[in-house]
């Protein structure tokens, strides 16, 4: 493969696309699939056949289009017209009126001036929901692998790292560590063998950014990994995908095979001296394996448990070799930066947080789905403009960011910009990108208890504060929920929060108390009403049930695991 060949493949495919009279793109994300996207695809194909235009119309299943709460989604090109809640019965009419007669069907049509898409800045999601994720040619036709070609042909590893550093790209998994700096440490490592690892072990409840990207545009991740490999001197990459994402695994596997067939992965990429291979690893359902040291142990085939840092993976990672570990979204940002330059990227976002961030917007908002906004956008804009405000007739109560490691942010902080520092200041974290909006039907004690229970069951059990502390905190929260807690319990809970945060080995344990700490900070009266007055304003907690809140016997040993 040479650059010329790459351009030729792209041009050929674009010519091929141009021969179609129109395109009917169907969102193929998990949500739209469960709402009947596959049936809908057949309905559109049949409708085209019946209209005698099957060969002239391209009906294609794409990745996630974003507006998940309104699926199944359909886009008609040319014109970029979106239809929401499309059913198979609508297919003939859309084909006849819109595709053939060019008079868009008014019902179900998403207005062009909608705030959902209008307020977004797609960088990593630019081609998501527009290209066929199973076709490498479609990716190439949209400029795919040009950044890799440019990198290995014209740029030195040092200049790529400089470009990434100038762009100000920071880790999108939530930590926010400077990506260029991390790469530079690995590049300087003297080891002969180095690795690039893509952390796709997404586990936060309500978060589906990585999944959408893996399913919707897997090549953009592979391209980012290959560029990282070239920059740091690694020849082997691993994508560690959560085992619960079968479609993502399938798409990624196919993408790797196609890239190898096109010699975009493998030996002497673009006839340079650079060789890079990528292997796929599947997680076995442990949240803690999203923690980088645990992830690496799991790739090595060992028990997925975190190890103390230092040494950091950049010094001693996979099999003790220098290893770049980045999140899916971080890698997806790489090719756009190399293609369009650090200056372009640096103009998006805030002074310290550059670029965009992808969020999975969920909970009590009108428009739930996958969004991408410039860093610095306020939470209010995200929830009320893009999200369309609170669904139903509820009122806004709090927004949860960062999942089980994050916190709840109340109304008075809604105008803070979304960036690493501001969210941390408000008592939450950026996290990997889950945003859960809550209205007054949510009980903050219940939410805090839910996340603590999550951490309790996901603790690996290695270090004492996380393993036992989460059990004890969970029990106290459960007691508050059923009105059996005492003032002493509250004191113990707060002591444990601080202690578990300060003493746990890895990020999971250190951050496990965050949802409780932030709930206590902003919603303490609600806790007090629970344990003093036995009142739950949201009406979720029960105080009269003698059985409620009695935990099942705590078991371990053979019986518990049979």
């Amino acid at each position: 493969m040479t650059i010329e060949e790459l351009y030729r493949i792209g041009a050929l495919y674009r010519d091929q696309l141009a021969t179609f009279r129109a395109q009917i793109q169907l969102c193929g994300s998990g949500t739209c699939r469960s709402a009947g996207a596959e049936e809908l695809q057949r309905a559109f194909e049949t409708a085209c056949e019946e209209a005698g235009v099957r060969a002239e119309i391209r009906v294609v299943m794409t990745g996630c289009m974003g507006l998940c709460g309104s699926g199944p989604l359909v886009r008609i090109e040319p014109g970029d017209t979106m239809y929401v809640h499309v059913s198979p019965q609508d297919a003939p009419r859309i084909v006849r009126d819109h595709v053939l007669e060019n008079s868009p069907v008014t019902e179900q049509r998403l207005p062009d001036d909608n705030t959902f898409y209008g307020r977004q800045t797609p960088v990593v999601l630019e081609h998501m929901g527009r290209i066929d994720p199973e076709s490498i040619e479609d990716y190439i036709a949209h400029g795919g692998y040009e950044a890799l070609a440019k990198a290995v042909t014209y740029q030195t590893p040092e200049s790529i790292i400089l470009e990434i550093r100038h762009a100000g790209l920071r880790g999108r998994g939530g930590g926010g560590y400077a990506t260029g700096l991390k790469w530079d440490i690995v590049r300087r490592g003297s080891a002969e063998q180095k690795y690039v690892v893509c952390n796709a072990d997404e586990g936060d409840p309500g978060a589906f950014m990585d999944r959408a990207m893996l399913e919707g545009n897997p090549h953009s991740i592979l391209e980012g990994m290959a560029i990282a490999g070239y920059a740091v001197g690694a020849t082997q990459g691993f994508v560690s995908v959560r085992g619960e994402y079968p479609l993502a695994v399938q798409r990624m596997r196919r993408a790797i095979a196609e890239a190898e067939r096109k010699q975009l992965l493998g030996n002497r990429i673009f006839d340079s001296g650079f060789s890079f291979r990528v292997d796929l690893r599947m997680g076995a359902g442990a949240f803690v394996c999203g923690e980088e040291t645990a992830l690496l142990r799991s790739i090595e085939g060992k028990r997925g448990q975190p190890a103390p840092r230092p040494p950091y993976p950049s010094h001693a990672g996979l099999w003790e070799k220098p290893t770049v570990v980045n999140n899916v979204e971080t890698f997806a940002n790489v090719a756009p930066i190399i293609r369009r330059g650090a200056r372009w990227f640096g103009e998006i976002g805030t002074a310290r947080s550059k670029g965009t961030k992808v969020f999975a917007l969920a909970g009590r908002v009108r428009n739930t789905g996958l969004i991408e906004v410039p860093m610095g956008t306020t939470l209010r804009e995200v929830i009320f403009d893009i999200g369309g405000g609170i669904s139903g007739d509820g009122t806004f109560k709090a927004v949860q960011t960062g999942g089980p490691s994050g916190g709840c942010i109340p109304e008075q902080h809604l105008d803070i910009p979304v960036d690493y520092e501001s969210l941390a200041q408000a008592g939450s974290i950026m996290g990997s990108g889950g945003i859960i909006v809550m209205d007054n039907s949510s009980c903050m004690v219940d939410i805090a208890s839910y996340f603590m229970e999550f951490c309790r069951t996901e603790s690996c059990g290695k270090c004492v504060p996380c393993r036992v502390g989460t059990v004890q905190m969970s029990r106290i929260l459960e007691r508050i929920k059923c009105g059996r807690a005492t003032e002493q319990d509250m004191e113990t809970l707060e002591e444990l929060c601080v202690m578990v945060k300060d003493t746990s080995l890895c990020g999971l344990g250190q951050a496990a108390p965050n949802p409780v700490i932030s709930a206590l900070h902003f919603f303490r009266p609600e806790f007090e009403r629970h344990y003093r007055d036995h009142v739950c304003d949201a009406g979720i907690c029960r105080f009269d049930d003698p059985e409620h809140g009695v935990e099942p016997a705590h078991e371990k040993g053979e019986g518990a695991h049979a």
């Binding site: 290695k462 270090c463 393993r467 080995l505 705590h554 040993g557």
Partner: protein, 236 residues
Amino acid sequence: MHEIRTLSIDGQMISASADATILEAAREHGISIPTLCHLDGLSDVGACRLCLVEIEGQNRLQPACVTRVEEHMVVRTTSARLKKYRRMLLELLFSEGNHVCAVCVANRNCELQNLAADAGMDHVRFDYLHPACTTDATHDRFVLDHNRCILCARCVRVCDEIEAASTLAVAGRGSQSWIVSDLQDSWGDARSCTSCGKCLLVCPTGSLFEKGHTSTDPERKEDFLRYIVNANRRKG
């Protein structure tokens, strides 16, 4: 020639080899830091968190067992906060298992018990979890009592790193973690076990013991620990 680092631990100026951990440097100079999962001669995992120390200029507490000394480092091994955390950690351990000292083979010879006494622990503020644990007495000579296990995984490491049998491992997760032999077989059926008994010698509590021993036995393991350490050094 070894590179030397100069640092301060609890106000005492000391020098240590550049590859020494804070724990090694401290102990060499008679400064004691409580540990439980650490054992000289085995790899360190930083799991019990008892050896956490304060390092000036760092926000996070660091485990002394895996943190290397650095030039001009200022370390505090004890403070009101550290004392409180250590006691809470021990209380959590006591709350987690079924530690009935009166009938325990390790009574008065137990590292957990000694640490609790050192920490001035007179009660446990947390709920006793009273887990329903089993005891595996299927092995000819040895017993594994999960009630007394604190999951320090010393037995797992000695089995892997010294005896190279890798019979013992941790299964399950979180508070449901437990020590298993082979593929969750009964210990008696674990064919990889060489019956060397090293796991018994490194167990800090009475979780692993030889059949026939009771709480009245004065026997203790310090000599054996030293033996293992030396064996490991010679190996290295």
